[in-house]
Symmetry: C2
Subunit: 140 residues, 2 copies
DNA sequence: CTATATGCAAATAGTTTGCCTGTTA
DNA sequence: TAACAGGCAAACTATTTGCATATAG
């Protein structure tokens, strides 16, 4: 039975996409990688406090922003609700099930290129696309 | 030269989609209908103050929410920025040009049904779809 | 030793709420 | 006259910032 966590996770690289992986960033990243629930900053905070009791919410925000800026995770926004974070870097959308409050990744059907269906002005450089759906997942 | 606006705009119906069109809601709605710039609540507020000097920002928020709830206008959110409001009820997306800060409606190419390209779970009832793009509109 | 990251508390900004008054059906 | 809408200020909440300390290259 271990009483203390090691200072660093051995399987965690020192850097991801040029971002130095400090202990706090490691915990944030590790937690997100194992989650499909698209947690909020506060949920990440609550969870990694178990491993890092002194971590602050501001640091969690800083870590999340650093990871987003370095394309390690994605930030997902639903209306005016708190931002959520997603480890899935594939191009995909998000479905917000109003009944349960859960969020599901939505893939595109194979062979679909999103820009093909949008009537974009010429010479447009798209940096990011966000597709969010809201509705209900009826019981089958 | 008119010195005062009439109490109500003659061309404005008393009700839209079951929503009673008070003087404040009329001004908010009329302004939005003539705008393609997707104004924020504060921009609406600044503008309709010209016609209604005593209007309050809270009332503008209330009017906007009432209009959104009754499907008279749409609310558009970009990341964590202030909500914007759009009089275009057709299914469409929004492109945020980072260079100018402007927002453009993006139509879908003809014959495209959005749900056709999404790999949705069965029995899903979609209430709302939001597509937002961020990027740059290069000078042609 | 210099830059960067953390922790904490305070500040910020958009939005909402409470309460009282005014208006409308 | 009962329900709803408006105006104002205060409250709320997610997020950011300033600053002092700690850590890393």
């Amino acid at each position: 039975m271990t009483t203390h966590l090691p200072q660093n996770h051995p399987e965690m690289p020192e850097e991801i996409n040029g971002l130095r992986m400090t202990r706090q960033r490691q915990e944030v990243y590790r937690f997100l990688m194992g989650e499909r629930s698209h947690p909020t900053a506060n949920e990440v905070f609550m969870r990694i406090k178990e491993a890092l009791p002194n971590v602050s919410l501001a640091t969690v925000y800083n870590c999340l922003e650093a990871l987003v800026q370095h394309n390690v995770i994605r930030q997902v926004n639903f209306d005016r609700e708190p931002s959520r974070y997603c480890p899935n870097l594939d191009e995909h959308g998000h479905f917000h099930d109003e009944t349960t409050g859960t969020i599901h990744d939505i893939k595109f059907k194979p062979g679909i290129n999103l820009t093909d269906i949008l009537d974009l002005p010429p010479n447009t450089v798209i940096k990011d696309i966000e597709i969010t759906l809201r509705g209900q997942l009826a019981a089958s």
